[in-house]
């Protein structure tokens, strides 16, 4: 079973406590009426579906209940990093730093994020 680090609980918790919630950092258009059907369809349904590094949302359903974001490799299933909802997409350097052997303070301990299901 995978262990997933919840950035709110600040602890490694078993996979069964979590649910997957789709791709992260998708910004809802501010004025959907102004969009073409094509553009609206892309917003609703089209996702990157990469092979490799994926930025995605998870929810610690059977724990603190919070949504948060994770960086996971879709091939190996390895979680590189998890971080609070509302924080910006981590850079390659931040992800590498969090996975360096000596990394003791991953970016999950970053400054407080808003308690909301923000996507930016």
């Amino acid at each position: 079973m995978l262990l997933i680090r919840c950035p709110y609980c600040e602890a490694e918790r078993p996979e069964v406590e979590f649910v997957y919630a789709g791709e992260a950092h998708i910004t809802r258009p501010t004025n959907p009426s102004a969009l073409s059907d094509e553009a609206w369809k892309d917003h609703l349904f089209t996702r990157t579906n990469p092979r490799g590094r994926h930025f995605e949302r998870w929810r610690h359903l059977h724990g603190c209940g919070r949504f948060f974001n994770a960086v996971r490799d879709t091939v190996s299933d390895r979680f590189a990093l998890t971080y609070k909802a509302g924080l910006p997409r981590p850079t390659d350097a931040e992800i590498e730093a969090a996975n360096a052997p000596a990394a003791q303070t991953p970016a999950t301990n970053a400054p407080a994020a808003q308690n909301q299901e923000a996507r930016s």
């Binding site: 709110y8 600040e10 602890a11 078993p14 059977h62 603190c64 209940g65």
Partner: protein, 179 residues
């Protein structure tokens, strides 16, 4: 209580005791983290400020479950006093009496972690005494509190309690027979 449960399960060699906990009052508290200072007056002492942490005051116990969520356990006679204290709290919050939603199960003894491990997926040995969390016991959502090195308390919804009790009975039997 748990419909088919005897008063307690006792393993022959004394390594494990599983029993229903005494009745308590339970509350679910939702509150902005910034307002915990004001809520301390209503609770009767500081609320825990970290997920998983607990604090105690006047026989009341508060366990932080999420960034803005706490569960409070209190003596059964304390319901009115606690409700009134929070009703006077001037900051937005929600306090819901969930006393009868759950039952408490105490798992105690040298084999307590072994028995719980049969249906809990995380490292119980690493759980600090005096902390608690929401988690899964098999497929049932529970609160798990480590009251002492060899004593745990499970809080589980009534409709799942029979299932949890049945699994603990099976685990107790295996430990009893040294399987």
């Amino acid at each position: 209580m748990v419909p088919h449960a005897p008063a307690s399960l006792l393993v022959r060699n004394g390594a494990l005791s599983v029993r229903l906990a005494d009745e308590v009052a339970r509350f679910s508290l939702r509150l902005a983290p910034a307002d915990t200072g004001q809520a301390a007056a209503a609770f009767g002492g500081p609320l825990p400020a970290r997920i998983g942490a607990m604090s105690q005051s006047n026989g009341r116990t508060a366990l932080q479950l999420g960034p803005d969520e706490w569960q409070i356990l209190a003596p059964p006679g304390d319901v009115d006093a606690l409700s009134a204290a929070f009703a006077a709290l001037p900051v937005p919050h929600s306090l819901v009496d969930i006393s009868h939603r759950e039952v408490g199960i105490v798992v105690e003894g040298a084999a307590a972690t072994l028995a719980l491990r049969s249906a809990i997926a995380f490292d119980l040995e690493a759980m600090a005494v005096g902390t608690g969390c929401r988690t899964l016991f098999d497929k049932a959502q529970i609160l798990l509190i480590r009251e002492a090195a060899d004593r745990f308390r499970i809080e589980v919804w009534r409709s799942f309690a029979d299932h949890v009790w049945g699994l603990l009975r099976a685990a107790s039997r295996e430990i009893d027979l040294d399987l």
